[in-house]
């Protein structure tokens, strides 16, 4: 009888150990010195460096800017509110061709579409006509005169620094991508109003003031 009880206990232990199928630990590594990097990798813990006496600060050196980010620093003080001084800024990129439009649309759908809607009607899946979790109505980019009159520069600054409840998208989109998205929104607004996209590039301030983006900027 004694042996039977030993067998029973063993079997019971096996059953119990096989019970939970949630794996909360990663398991054992074969040759951990080849598995885990000794060099500092992207998600290395900076405290380990500090413990070894290495000074590490994740912030960029004060005063340095990214090579592509120069345009943001034209109106350095204009980082909150309505971005009035930046409204004079013009989109430095030429109008988008078909391929670039596809790319700009992709960027818009990833980053903006969840709130502002795939049709730019301010009714994305997060708002869902007031039924979604997002309580504030996102801006109606096409169909609201307020946003159709908004200048490209103000749009760019709104994307860069955020506006009202919208956060900054500086970490999501490079300045070039932000200008592309601004181009895309403006093109959609023109399309809805039945205007054609001007053929010439609006590249600099000497461009004729008759094109539609210039009038929108005022």
């Amino acid at each position: 009888m004694n042996k039977i009880s030993i067998i029973a206990v063993c079997l019971g232990a096996l059953v119990f150990s096989a019970c939970s199928d949630i794996k909360r630990t990663p398991g054992k590594a074969y040759m951990p010195d080849m598995q885990f990097s000794r060099a500092v990798e992207t998600y290395s813990d900076p405290r380990e460096l500090q413990a070894e006496g290495i000074n590490y600060n994740a912030r960029p050196v004060a005063g340095t800017i990214s090579r592509s980010a120069d345009v943001i620093y034209q109106h350095l003080a204009d980082t909150t509110g309505r971005y009035i001084t930046s409204s004079s800024l013009r989109n430095p990129l030429p109008y988008l061709d078909t391929l670039q439009t596809v790319e700009a649309e992709r960027l818009y759908l990833i980053n903006c579409g969840i709130c502002h809607g795939t049709k730019l009607d301010g009714n994305g899946p997060l708002y869902k006509g007031g039924d979604g979790p997002y309580a504030a109505k996102p801006a109606t980019l096409v169909g609201d005169p307020l946003y159709e009159a908004m200048s490209e520069g103000t749009m760019f600054y709104s994307i860069t620094y955020g506006r009202n409840l919208m956060g900054s998208y500086a970490t999501h989109l490079t300045p070039k991508q932000r200008w592309e998205v601004v181009h895309y929104i403006k093109a959609k607004q023109r399309e809805a109003k039945g205007e054609a996209t001007p053929a010439t590039a609006p590249a600099d301030a000497t461009a004729p003031a008759t094109d539609s983006t210039a009038t929108a900027a005022k």
Partner: protein, 416 residues
């Protein structure tokens, strides 16, 4: 003739007037909801402070209807008159200027306020959502224990029956006069020992090999994270694109864990969870609103004051997918050039409450995929230099190009 003309004129005019009046009525009845969403909802909600204060109970706070209407149309003019309530309100909300709405008619404003009042009444009348689905969740996980106990009982019965059988045999042998040997206990019975050794060898060998193969692999690894972040809610229900948070996947080697400002893009406004109930893997219920509060404690955001008041600290998420140091893997190559969907390697993350490792990330798995996957060769700039393959595809001597045929199984692609 002239008399006719005047009658016709009158009729036309009255018809016009009627349509205008009707249309106006329609505007009035045409839900205040639409007007509210068009004009107010980007800054105000009924029961929640957003960019501006919540609007529930607005008529109690501003009983003077004329003043309220004047404020809604042109708040700057009201501020200029030095009204105390509105000046205080303006200062309290960090002097955020409200937009001007000079074109709203009295009826439109009334319709919107009626909408606000009905919504506010609805919100107070709504009872707390009952919990019904909790019981069903708990029942499912206990089956394996039940089966284990059943197996155990059956095993004991088999052993007892075997004992009884041998005893009965001995008794019948004694009766028949066949001399019975002293019974050999089963642990000294050679047949039993041999059988046991073979079984031990097979089972032990199986587990040893499986364990050895599993070293360094962590399929199904599902750690508990510092915040219960549900991909099911974010990427599933709310349809947020993977690349919204993990934009690094198209830029470089790492897909990146989003920084806290990405969370706050939405969670500045979304401070409570009201969707369907959430459960951890062990069946305990998750309070979504509390988890959002945890995010606020990390970012230092004060939802009452609507600004960052405390020093932020990073969330130490537990990394799930780890490749050994001697393997090079680049997300951008797979996402941009390869056009591989995230779900191919990570599973249906948009269905996961807690994320687990979907594949074992073994070398066999990598190589197998490289052998089988057909490269999207046409309309893909990245592969435009493979002239021979393009020609072969064109004249039909090759029907598809796999990753292997462009060097995807060379050692040096991943190990260097």
């Amino acid at each position: 003739m002239i008399a006719y003309r005047s009658i016709v004129k009158k009729i036309i005019l009255s018809v016009l007037l009627l349509t205008v009046v009707c249309f106006d009525k329609q505007v009035l009845a045409q839900d205040g909801k639409a007007l509210f969403q068009q004009n107010c909802a980007s800054c105000h909600a009924v029961g929640k402070d957003l960019t501006g204060p919540k609007l529930a109970g607005i008529e109690e706070r501003v009983p003077d209807k004329k003043l309220l209407y004047a404020w809604i149309r042109n708040n700057q003019a009201v501020l200029a008159t030095g009204n105390k309530y509105f000046t205080d309100l303006y200062n309290q909300w960090n002097k955020t200027a409200m937009n001007l709405f000079p074109n709203l008619t009295d009826e439109e404003i009334a319709a919107m306020i009626t909408y606000v009042n009905t919504e506010a009444a609805k919100a107070t009348a709504k009872p707390a959502p009952g919990d019904t689905s909790a019981a069903t969740q708990a029942q499912q996980s206990d089956n394996s224990l039940l089966f284990g106990i059943l197996t155990l009982i059956l095993a004991i019965i088999v052993l007892v029956l075997m004992q009884v059988n041998s005893n009965l045999k001995r008794l019948s042998d004694e009766k028949d006069g066949i001399p019975s040997y002293e019974p050999v206990p089963f642990y000294r019975n050679k047949a039993y020992i041999a059988l046991f050794a073979v079984i031990l060898f097979i089972v032990g060998g199986y587990y040893t090999i499986q364990g050895a193969i599993g070293l360094g692999r962590s399929k199904d690894y599902q750690p508990e994270q510092p915040i219960y972040y549900s991909h099911k809610v974010h990427a599933g229900t709310n349809q947020i694109n993977c690349l919204y948070c993990h934009g690094g996947a198209q830029e470089g080697k790492h897909a990146n864990i989003p920084s806290l400002n990405t969370c706050m893009n939405c969670h500045m406004a979304i401070n409570e969870y009201a969707g369907e109930k959430l459960y951890r893997e062990d069946g305990t219920e998750v309070n979504g609103t509390e988890e959002i509060q945890k995010l606020y404690s990390y970012t230092g955001w004060d939802p009452d004051q609507k600004k960052y008041v405390n020093e932020p600290k990073p969330i130490e998420w537990v990394k799930i997918h780890n490749l050994p140091d001697h393997v090079y893997f680049n997300h951008a190559q797979h996402v941009n050039a390869g056009k591989v969907a995230c779900q191919t390697c990570h599973g249906e993350v948009q269905e996961m409450g807690e994320v687990y490792q979907f594949t074992d990330l073994s070398m066999g798995w990598c190589v197998n995929c490289h052998r089988e996957t057909k490269v999207q060769f046409t309309d893909n700039k990245f592969y435009s230099i493979y002239e021979k393959f393009h020609n072969d595809l064109k004249n039909g001597s090759m029907d598809s190009v796999t990753v292997e045929s462009i060097g995807g199984t060379e050692c040096q692609k991943c190990h260097y």
